[in-house]
Symmetry: C3
Subunit: 664 residues, 3 copies
């Protein structure tokens, strides 16, 4: 079963239930003329599907799907469980989530349900079954989205009891739980499962991590409930997804993705203009959820309504964003939304058609995109991203570190992105993947702040290095076990075997610490500094950088080390380098590993690459600047939007795009 679409899709979220039927043809005409190939429908429509309990109406949706199909537009359906109707909440009040103070959420928001509520599970089964029965076999429906942007953590008594059961299953005995959480500390020891609280604000790190994992399992279970009901009624080629929110922290996205066919996410800029050296990493993250191409299920048409300043993306910028997404593996972009409902919380959110029903100025830019997508859809069919660098991401480590920052400005994701940014600026593709994925094929693996290790993970990384891989370990690595307990070892835990250094002490910094080394020149470590000690002096481990004078403890000590091990090698980076030194270090390491840029470009111009099943390389050149830019082509090229061929210098208009292949 291959769910990868062979088509590059463009579309929008469309809520026909907000509008009189008479308006539908006009909307769909405008979609068709913009080159739309897909629309997403149905999510949030529970009260339209089931206006009173067990009275169902799906005819209106079938009609809309049909009208869309007649205009060449496929449908993706969302299950409507993110927005329960008022009658449901009124009749089953325990389906509402409770906040940290025990207050129930109220009707009329989104995701206000308790994810562990048996009654909510029951009502969800009912509506999803009905929907699947009526629409599962519809030939114009190509995919399904479960719920919408899972996000609400519930603190109700049902959840607390479920959490306690979860713990009983996980630890089997209270002795084991007490041991793993070191509960003799502050007399936390539990003598009965029902004593265990849901942690609020700070608490025992073991308890906190277990609760966060329980949240993951709660969403996973609720999602699976829907996936199973749908799968039983869907044709094999119809996929199921969920629209995630990029770096959203609340659950382990790898766990939830495991039960989906396709990963999708909702991409918003908020205030300001997008920075492609940062946003590309989010696409790479989502591509890593299933290690395959993904959908951008929602994206920003101009502006949003929820940020501090809801400015518009510059003219041309939305088109550049679309190609940037495609360059990182997007198979589809759907704008949210087609047209705002006349009332409701998102009245002022960007859309393609304004309150009067007329296209906004942005519509023309989207229509251009539609035409372009049609032009290169076949060329890109089945193509994928191939990266030689992997960056490891781990939700457990992220939670652990962000709860216990030790420096207010330390943030796990920002630190990970600090490793992505210089590679993005040099047009070096990366994969961002789970820390537990296989690593063969990568020349370089970066494991930023992998604080949590377990025996499998350790073995897996050692194996990678032994077989010839280059591994970068960074500050805070290897301090903890899977229960968020300190390992009884110095950093980087059992990875000292391959790093041949240990961290004698770590230093959160109130002011930067100077450091220098041949690879990076004179620089500074900000936020953090670790003092490394080489263990076995026989191994010729290199001191790549040393600290200058700072607080006495760090003076002259090793900041970065390199150790050859097996056929590979390990860098330990105990410093949080400034941007310039970080770029130098990564350039140096990439050069050593023969990892070359796809193309050399001036700042602001990005090159992405997709490789077809036949091995053809397609280069997407994107000018993210408001001014024209020039790129020297390394080979004679064919440009697929214009059809031009040529060599030498390629001039890109402001926000200009070129889709190149080598001209044979």
């Amino acid at each position: 079963m291959n769910h990868t679409s062979t088509k590059l899709h463009l579309g929008a979220a469309y809520y026909p239930e907000h509008w009189p039927e008479a308006r539908w043809p006009e909307d769909i005409r405008l979609m068709r003329e913009a080159g739309f190939t897909v629309a997403r429908l149905g999510e949030f429509a529970w009260s339209s599907f089931e206006p009173t309990e067990n009275e169902f109406h799906f005819g209106w949706l079938e009609q809309a799907i049909e009208l869309l199909a007649k205009n060449g537009i496929a449908s993706v359906l969302g299950t409507p469980t993110a927005a329960p109707p008022a009658w449901l909440t009124q009749k089953y009040p325990a389906t509402l989530a409770a906040d940290e103070n025990g207050q129930r959420y109220e009707h009329g928001k989104r995701c206000q349900y308790c994810v562990n509520s048996p009654e909510y599970h029951e009502r969800s089964r009912n509506i999803v079954s009905q929907m699947a029965e009526h629409l599962g076999a519809n030939p114009n429906v190509i995919g399904w989205q479960i719920d919408n942007e899972f996000n609400t953590v519930c603190y109700c008594d049902t959840c607390r009891a479920a959490f306690q059961q979860y713990l009983a299953k996980k630890f089997e005995s209270l002795e084991s739980l007490n041991e793993n959480w070191a509960t003799r500390y502050w007399s936390q020891s539990y003598t009965s499962w029902d004593q265990i609280p849901i942690p609020k604000a700070g608490h025992n790190p073991g308890l906190m991590l277990a609760f966060q994992q329980f949240i993951t399992q709660s969403f996973k279970k609720y999602q699976k409930l829907q996936v199973d009901l749908l799968r039983a009624r869907l044709p094999e080629n119809v996929w199921i997804t969920h629209n995630f929110m990029g770096w959203f922290p609340t659950y382990d996205h790898y766990e939830l993705s495991a039960d989906l066919d396709l990963a999708a996410w909702d991409w918003y800029v908020g205030s300001g203009q997008p920075d492609y050296t940062m946003t590309g990493a989010t696409h790479d993250l989502v591509r890593g959820f299933k290690r395959r191409n993904f959908w951008v299920m929602e994206t920003q048409p101009g502006n949003v309504n929820w940020s501090t300043v809801n400015n518009h993306v510059n003219q041309g910028g939305i088109r550049a964003m679309a190609w940037h997404a495609v360059g990182h593996g997007a198979e589809a972009l759907l704008y949210w939304q087609w047209r705002s409902a006349l009332n409701g919380q998102e009245q002022y959110h960007g859309s393609l058609v304004d309150q009067s029903g007329q296209p906004r100025p942005l519509y023309a830019e989207i229509a251009q995109l539609g035409a372009e997508f049609a032009k290169v859809s076949d060329l890109l069919a089945g193509s994928e991203i191939k990266a030689k660098v992997a960056i490891l991401n781990d939700y457990n480590s992220r939670w652990s570190l962000n709860w216990q920052r030790q420096h207010q400005d330390f943030d796990y994701v920002a630190h990970l992105q600090h490793y992505c940014k210089p590679l993005a600026a040099r047009n070096i593709p990366v994969d961002i993947i789970s820390a537990d994925e296989p690593l063969h094929g990568y020349r370089l693996v970066i494991a930023p702040s992998l604080v949590i290790l377990n025996p499998e993970r350790t073995a897996h990384l050692i194996e990678y290095v032994k077989r010839g891989g280059t591994l970068i370990l960074t500050l805070r690595t290897g301090m903890k076990d899977a229960n968020n307990s300190l390992l009884p070892l110095r950093q980087p835990g059992e990875l000292t075997e391959i790093a041949n250094v240990e961290v004698e002490e770590y230093y959160p910094l109130d002011t930067p610490a100077p450091l220098s080394g041949r690879m990076i020149g004179d620089s500074f470590s900000r936020l953090w500094a670790e003092r490394l000690r080489i263990l076995d002096p026989e191994l010729n481990t290199l001191a790549v950088a040393n600290y200058g004078q700072k607080n006495g403890w760090l003076d002259g000590q090793i900041a970065i080390s390199y150790n050859q091990h097996g056929k590979g090698g390990v860098y330990y980076v105990g410093a949080y380098l400034d941007e310039k030194a970080q770029a130098k270090m990564l350039e140096h390491i990439c050069n050593i590993r023969s990892i070359r840029p796809l193309m050399d470009t001036p700042p602001g111009v990005e090159v992405c690459q997709r490789v077809t099943p036949q091995g053809e390389k397609i280069y997407l050149v994107i000018n993210h600047l408001e001014v024209a830019a020039k790129v020297s082509l390394p080979w004679a090229a064919r440009e697929h939007l214009s059809g031009f061929t040529g060599k030498g210098a390629l001039t890109l208009a402001p926000y200009g795009i070129a889709i190149l292949t080598k001209d044979a």
Copy 2:
């Protein structure tokens, strides 16, 4: 019935119940010597009036009123309902308001009652009736104040049920409510009135606006309950008022003012020194509540106790504030308060007599004012402010926009004041009035961000222009209807008929957008920019200003337009101009409309004008600076505080005042 006082009053809030009777004569002697003509008493004295349920004591107050009267000081009485006694709260706990979390307020604060509580209505009826019976006919009482600074929003179940009933009455059917709030959005649709929540934080804008209107109606009803009880027992010439808080947002002040004889407000500076180009607008606002002169029921004697820095107003500044208020239509100023109670939350608030019972240094300045008021009281008797410019104010628009700012720095009131400030700086009087008031007589009407239109309002504005008026519409105008739903029209809604432009798109700005035009020169729009399109090219609509290069979408587009219509004309200002350009634009428009300054003055010197029933113009010249200032008089003048007459240059001492009439 004309309630306008013919006397310029000076006084203070006085709480004799805080002090032994033996002290009263000394306090009243000091008041008399300061030239006081009025005292406000009784508010907050419920526990002194009714120390236990149904046991009443008004004798002490009658005695105080009499002693004041004997010293030439009239009394204004407050009903004491803002501070219920402890026995009441204890016996009727449901009279306490509940906050958003359902927690009841506690005894010992102010305004802690639920405004919809039937029990509180009953207890209020009881105390107000008793008070009216004992004191209503007292010849020394010239006016009454209902409660004090209405402000508490309650979220209790009583309020929720009352809100649902309010909605049932307003919408008649759930179908209508659902339609007007577009509740198919997020499955918000209601199938029963009792499903409707009280909105907390953000919610459906239709629901939010309806709740805010319900709050207005709740206060109006509670106020009316008291007004009716009093009115039945008061002589015809005794007025009833409420002390509002200037730009306080929580209810529609026009609605509450409708049931009062007189508007009054409480004027505090807080930290820093007052800025007369801003404070004058607040006086103008309050004058607009009843479109007649008003009382300053409380004002700051030196300093307050609740701000970040409770600094004193500079020496001379309190006197200047008083004349500034009179220049904008104040008939009375009462300082809050005479002397602080020895304990209680406001111990450190400014007063005229200090804790030791001796006059503070400020007392001498007030006494000077008392003498001056006496001197010109007859001259000013019955005089009023006459303005050629009206600025329209609309609470529904204010709520709507401030809930959905789209730019964090956009604030409805600040934007309105942005139009007041340059006029104030040029000594051009303005009225600030409800957007639904008649407009005849105004040469210029400014309608800042009038986002909500309804057919009557639209017709009324069109009519004004047709008959020869000049109307300035500004950004965000005409997007919504009375239920806070988007109009299915481009901005400015049906006012496009007279503006002959539509807004193609609006742009909240992260950085300023350049614009220029002959009227304003080269300038910037900050926060916001709208892209205008002229509709009927035949009409010679002018592009008054165009944007420069900004984000592509705005480049070269029209920012400000002018369209002649009927005998009048409409400016549409789609930009949020910087201060200099704003001043230029308004100067230009005023010049065209022959709206001239009362007098030309250097910065910091204000000129106000009051016009007597006989048409005599009295000019109040106020130096708001700490240094002396010079004004060129356009005519020979008589100064009424000093008695001097002269012409040419008038030199004002620091914070100096001149009350001028033309010397015939």
Copy 3:
């Protein structure tokens, strides 16, 4: 009974219950080698002592104490009541404290109990009795600590009822309470004790002060319960203490100290590096709790885990901190903690042994200190601090002022420290003592912002001056009585008798006010300015400084005065001087009073002095700088760490220490 230890102790908090017994010998070996003489144990071990109700285990602790003793390390035991076990909380849920919203605290934090809970009292009696019975007579236990860092204020119904009973006892009648709180204000009058609320956020200052005093009494009573149980079972020379938190605001530390033998505190730096001109004052404060030497029961080994940036103290700085503490009267320093538990909220807190069980880099510095302590312990035995300057501290005044700051930047403690800092910088020892302590022996007494006066306090200060003392009164002094009511007098209340000035008005300042005088030169008052008036012109009261031009009210007025009275004199400082002028003023006054520095040193070098029972003066010279410093010795000296003797210049290494006596 003299509980003063004759030994200078060094040690750490040690929790053997976190570790397998097999590890204990290794830990204790490392302690011994670091020169440790004491360990603190047992606090937080309730669940290890009493894992299920009434089943007790003390054997493990006895074993640990014995092993320590065999290695020359004495034990201090903590009662474990700050961390109740889960079974207790589960069985007696009313033992949990409630926050302001009535929400109960949860298991697994610290100090989550209701200090007034009868059930908690009962459970505490039980565990403390058991502990005392098993361990009270243990010859290796030298002292006991009650609970840990008292801090939690409870708002439950039990506390509210207890508060009402407390008030009934304090005021005897509601008439008296109403009178003292001036409750006619806002109709607050109480007609029944059970109407009185616990104040939340702001409330009547009388009510707020009474509640804060009730909190003090609640902790005092709870502490006494434990003290009495222990005292009955302890040998006479075993002391009882509590570990306070320096300037922690929540209760009156003098009241709690009264029932203890010894004061102790927990000293943490948090972010940044310590500033000895500030931290010394905290030691002086704690020394003043019992007017004798004290223990530092916890202090920071390197870094903490709860601050914004948990940086380490510079190398050498921890040693300097230790000597600084000794120089201010510390008899012992115990690091918190020896080694972190592998899980729990404080995993990342600094320790001496790291997660791997190996000494951290800091260990060597502590071991140096251990050797040094051993070397000078006999020399310092019984020595004390002797100061000629007393600074008066009053919790009631502090609460009163900090609740009603009038200027957001006014803080009672910061203002008090503003008087300490210049004295510390000049090596002039001070005592910080309760405003109600005897004052004989002091040449200078400073009473910063002593807002609350009562007849005894006033008499006591007048007496001090009459007998020859010099008293500095400062802004905000003498406004209130013991119920937080305004005195019916101008400032400084009845102290005007000795100051011969009154405050005509006080001015919180939005911008600084210039002032000048011969003693201080040209300077500025920031935050605050009081306008003084000399009362009896016959008395030759001096105007020490006058204001320049500021706001009119202050222009030319007196800012600082001096009045001779009896054999002494009174300064009234109505300004909040800038740092330079403050230093000048205090230098000037000290010179007049012949209060000389212990030694002249360059900035950053501190000299402290301890005086032995035999009168020998020991000088501790501490270089708090990262660079070397030179001090000119006024006499030939013997240095006790090195054994060297000499005269002339003393060169101190970075963070260097010298322990000097005069070389006879």
